[in-house]
Symmetry: C3
Subunit: 342 residues, 3 copies
């Protein structure tokens, strides 16, 4: 089992870039929510909706900004960015079991694969020919890493992930279980009767510090590579089509569907279950709201949405009938306006 | 191969809580649809759309309600709830191969794992340290059960499922292939330049009698646990974010996307490919129609929808242009009405 | 590593059904895009948006139609269907590693399984009882093929795929990693308090030349089989519910969600992330645009859409308020029109 770590508040303050006001020697051994934290725990306030809970929070210390620190009864860890300090704290208290370096005897590693020092390969993993894995990277149980893949240093590939041949990962990449990187892009030429497969000759390149969730699929390119730049964060069950190019530090939430040959800029946010049709370009710093479809290129930063918002089904049924009459409604209104102004 | 079971109509009537009118000794060996059933099969009517097929159905017996039993030529199994009686019959005729108790020699089971009597562990499955598995549960081939997981009695985990560390399942839980339970929730704090991971310190708790489909992902909580209460039924490719709480007996259809920290009540139905944005609460007995997005909390039971309904693309193109003018249309209409009433 | 193949332009022209105008002995060793191809590569023009790039393309040869061939400076491979000729060329230059025939020593193959000559079974794959696999088919590492499955000739099942018991595949079927074929359909009968499972007694039948992407799920039928006809192409993360019937040569793009008992005709295209509610029928040659929901049967061929198109969120927020007033807007407009005509 993993070892739970403890810190004095003084140590903690230093480690999370906060200023301590309170008992420097108090021992903190875990993190709790404002509502449920108890003695020995640190909590945090970042969402203003929970400000009221400061007064009743039973944590030994709370990570807050200067302004809200006045309302804490406990010790305070004052931070200019409490959410970022909280993120640092979660790292300190992470109790996730670390993979053991070495190759599990049940793993099948091709004799030509090159594993740097500190690499862990889990039980029943399969590593193909000419694969290169950088120092301190781990490949979880049941993973399949096909031939010629290159994996950087410090990567964590959880169990049951599949990398098709020749996929390249940078360093410190995380890929969660069930994800599939480098399957064929979806390309067919029709002769009018049937579909002829376009063999996908490119691969996938994934930059440093990219996180990929569970059950996500990123297809290999048709001729050139699909590219995910450094710092991109991708949630679960995202689909990224062949020859997409996702810019640095963009965030792609769960269940997003990106068709092929889409270029997404840097520092974008694709909201949950949103999508983009193929062969379009989305500018830097675009945010797309949940379940919205981007149906043509977006050239200006900003927030974009589609959809109708939810309503009682009884109300909705009447309105969708009218939606189908909307063009007629607009024309008839224009006619009335003409009459009016005569 | 599995053994096909047969029952007399008398036995069958008792086993599915129906009243037999007809030949008690007739042997039934399988189930057929009204359209295609033949001699030796039992069929059923629950969807009124198929009532006409009663007259021509060639089954030896039909499960029907009292009213429709008059139209059957065959023997009748009269039930106050034919669909429920049909469900019971499907269980009787289930020909699915049962996993053999015992640990397959190719499985890798940590020496500290505790397996109760009757547990089956399939080929090439991997069971981590301190895992506890209750009596008569089965772990399919290729599964990864990480350390400290607890699995109740009578669970059936199909092949190639991944449970991350410390996930807890109740009893009689079913999880289908490719599903991933307990991967990290999607949490990052941005410093304006890049994203810092919020390590996910909670886990996932799944109650008794929960069914989970194939390719579904349920993320572990950030601080506290993600919770799926007893009797919840979840279909394929559903995504449930960190710290969600899904109430008892709620049904979540295929491809539903639930963002983080969503509370869903009891006895709800989330229609296929519907979704919910994060940090909202949905009351008990809410039904959300297919591909609808719940974009804020719902406090009243009832049916909710979003979207426009489909139409010919030629018609749709005209109407979506008008949708973007809708606020203007409404204002102009109001202006006209003012003129009118002057 | 795979061997890269080279062809003279004369050979290439014959193999892709094109007419050569240029240097017959020129050696071509790979494919490049119009923008990035260099000497020794062949490129192609099929999307008119790229016509301008012909003039500057550095490829040794370009696949074009008669009309555009006038603008090429390189050798030309003139085809009546350049995209189809390009598809044929991708096959020639495919450098994907081929699975080696034979059973990997770590694979677990049941003694009753029947493997035809040329079958490859990858490392740690598990093959159940009475499975039959046709000549030259390959089962990737980590796959689970449950008992009684039948797989035709020349199929390629990539790693970590799961086939539940009794699934039948035709010949030349491709299934990509993480896909699950034959998990239980989502069927429950409610007694008002809880849900009773309807055991799924059917299976799945998949025709010849069907392609299935990564992370796709196709459920087994409740009583009869789910059927995917020959030549159907299915992308990643598609969900097909129990008892669906998908007609020949239909194309289903990524993230499509099809509920149970849907009949889809032949030569249809379901756009990315589109969906269909249960128990409906979609005619032949229907095209559904991206993220559209088919909410009732479609009896006429043609293109169908739903949704609102995306817009700036600020504009959208005003319009969705009006959407909820749409029925009222339509009625008030009608009232005004009545007044007007008096």
């Amino acid at each position: 089992m993993s070892i739970k770590k403890s810190y004095t508040l003084e140590e903690l303050a230093n480690l999370i870039d906060a200023k301590l006001v309170g008992d420097a020697s108090c021992i903190i051994s875990s993190i709790g929510t404002l509502a449920h934290a108890t003695t020995g725990q640190v909590s945090f306030l970042s969402n203003p909706a929970y400000t009221d809970q400061l007064a009743t929070c039973k944590a030994s210390a709370i990570i807050v900004d200067e302004k809200n620190s006045l309302n804490c009864k406990s010790s305070k860890l004052i931070s200019s960015d409490p959410y970022l300090s909280f993120a640092k704290a979660t790292r300190l208290f992470d109790n996730r079991p670390a993979p053991e370096p070495g190759v599990h005897p049940s793993a099948v590693v091709h004799e030509t694969a090159e594993l740097a020092p500190g690499v862990a390969v889990g039980a029943n993993a399969v590593i193909g020919a000419h694969v290169k894995i950088g120092a301190n990277s781990s490949i979880g149980p049941g993973c399949l890493i096909e031939s010629n893949c290159q994996i950087g240093e410090g990567c964590r590939i959880y169990g049951n992930v599949t990398l098709y041949h020749s996929v390249k990962l940078g360093s410190n990449v995380i890929i969660n279980s069930g994800s599939v990187i480098g399957a064929d892009g979806f390309g067919f030429a029709s002769d009018g009767r049937q579909s002829h497969k376009i063999h996908q000759l490119g691969s996938v390149q994934i930059g440093d510090n990219v996180d990929i969730g569970a059950g996500t699929t990123i297809d290999r390119g048709a001729i050139e590579d699909t590219i995910i730049e450094m710092g991109v964060k991708i949630d679960n069950q995202v689909q990224i089509g062949h020859n997409c190019h996702v810019g640095e530090h963009t965030i792609i939430c769960g269940c997003v569907a990106i068709a092929g040959s889409v270029t997404i800029g840097k520092h974008c946010i694709m909201g949950g279950a949103s999508g983009a049709v193929g062969h379009i370009t989305i500018a830097d710093k675009v945010q797309v709201s949940a379940m919205s479809l981007v149906s043509k290129s977006i050239s200006e930063p900003g927030m974009y949405s589609s959809g109708t918002g939810h309503m009682k089904t009884s109300v909705w049924k009447r309105n969708i009938v009218r939606f189908q009459q909307l063009d007629s409604i607009a024309r008839r209104l224009k006619d009335l306006e003409k009459h009016e102004t005569k």
